[in-house]
């Protein structure tokens, strides 16, 4: 028989997640409106719901931290004197970068979830309740860093 290893048992029963995951594509909205903090939080929660490994979870968190740092530094050093709109867009761009990584890591497990007949959860409540505090936190962070730099 060729490659007997292929016919060895490898499947272990994994418990069904208590919470259903959100559509990975839908995470782009909190990314755009809430920036890197919102999408990092929601992306990590969704990764946990999809059963991703801790390594992949760490990658999402690391990308989120890097995007937030880069965004704060860009605003403090380059965009402080420009319009609020440009600052706002930099939030969105940083959020979209984090979402790109989360989407890349989660789209396959999410497809498997759908193949198994799973029905994704609605992101409305979680999305809105994450975006608002994330924005406040980001504004606070930028204010603190700007004050420190300008002192």
């Amino acid at each position: 028989m060729p490659d007997d290893n292929l016919l060895m048992p490898t499947i272990t029963e994994t418990p069904q997640p208590v919470y259903r995951p959100w559509r990975v594509d839908s995470l782009v909205y909190p990314a755009f409106f809430g920036g890197p903090i919102a999408v990092t939080y929601l992306g990590t929660v969704n990764a946990r719901r999809l059963g991703l490994s801790n390594r992949k979870l760490s990658l999402i968190v690391a990308t989120g931290a890097a995007a937030l740092t880069a965004q704060v530094l860009v605003i403090v050093f380059f965009l402080q004197d420009v319009s609020n709109g440009a600052q706002r867009l930099s939030f969105s761009a940083a959020g979209i970068v984090v979402w790109g990584v989360a989407q890349y890591l989660q789209r396959r497990p999410f497809r498997i979830f759908l193949l198994r007949g799973g029905e994704p959860a609605s992101l409305w409540g979680a999305g809105v309740s994450t975006v608002i505090p994330s924005l406040l936190l980001q504004f606070l962070l930028i204010y603190v860093v700007s004050s420190a730099v300008n002192r």
């Binding site: 016919l7 755009f32 497809r111």
Partner: protein
């Protein structure tokens, strides 16, 4: 698996049940099988045909019971073990299903249907690499087998390789142009890629009006084909990543070029489209599915 069953279908009642199953008349095949004498009903082929009819009717609990009873009476049998594997797969008892498929494959290692079923099970258990290797082994045995074609499409969908899914579903439909599953998969893949698959799925429903999975797909396709979904079709076709990258690039570009008003208009149009995509699809889906 099917050839082995046909060889054993010698008895007249059994042969009639077999013919009914071939004609997709599973209920009548079951009725025919219920007329068998207790001795005939205990034969391997009777259990196998009953299992196949129950599988066709998607009565998975009964498939499980029939296979277990058959195995207890006649001993290890690859067809019944395969049917038990399918029933457990449907019940999402993946490790038990694996045990049943492996026991079946130990008796029939070159059975293409069993290899494909095990491949799909591995995909569902998030073992895409092993699933692909199993499919390759089966494809080397019989590259144009229907299950090979189906499994290739399912593997591509499960690994989010939409281009390969398109190629695989095209190849399947070219090989089996009248197969309802080929038509349904062609439609499903088209929908995934932002194109209308409603036509193919409608043909699939016409070809097999009793298949519940295809009927569900038809409702899904009706949703995507609705005129209210037209504004979102370019976004679905481009994919979320590309759409967002293009939108953000346009908004940034206009702002940095000093075209603030145009930048604002672009942002308003984009946000409106986003809000539309949050509100309209769920409401439309509820409305369409309520009429089911």
């Amino acid at each position: 698996m099917t050839e082995r069953m046909s060889e054993q279908a010698q008895d007249t009642t059994i042969a009639r049940a077999w013919a009914l199953l071939e004609a997709d008349r599973a209920e009548q095949a079951l009725a025919e099988l219920s007329r068998l004498s207790p001795t005939q009903a205990g034969a391997a082929v009777a259990f196998q045909l009953r299992g196949r009819a129950l599988m066709h009717l998607e009565r998975w609990k009964e498939v499980d019971e029939n296979a277990r009873r058959g195995l207890a009476e006649i001993g290890p049998d690859p067809v019944l073990l395969g049917q038990l594997g399918f029933a457990l797969f449907e019940a999402r008892e993946y490790s038990n299903a694996e045990r049943a498929f492996l026991d079946a494959l130990a008796l029939a290692p070159h059975d293409v249907e069993l290899l494909c079923a095990y491949s799909r099970l591995c995909l569902h258990a998030d073992q895409a690499g092993k699933a692909k290797q199993l499919w390759q082994r089966a494809a080397a045995l019989d590259p144009y087998h229907r299950q090979i074609m189906i499994t290739r499409v399912v593997l591509a969908i499960g690994t989010a390789d939409d281009r390969e899914a398109q190629r695989a579903s095209d190849a399947y439909l070219a090989e089996y142009p009248a197969d309802p599953i080929a038509l349904a998969l062609q439609g499903q893949v088209a929908e995934m890629r932002g194109r209308s698959g409603y036509g193919s799925i409608r043909q699939a429903v016409a070809a097999d009006p009793d298949d519940r999975d295809i009927a569900d797909l038809a409702w899904e396709a009706r949703f995507y084909a609705h005129p209210l979904m037209l504004p979102l079709r370019p976004l679905i076709r481009l994919g979320t990543v590309k759409s967002w990258l293009i939108a953000v690039a346009i908004m940034f570009g206009l702002r940095f070029a000093g075209l603030n008003t145009l930048g604002l208009i672009a942002a308003v149009v984009w946000v409106s489209l986003c809000v539309y995509s949050w509100i309209v699809p769920p409401l439309l889906r509820k409305w369409i599915f309520r009429r089911r």
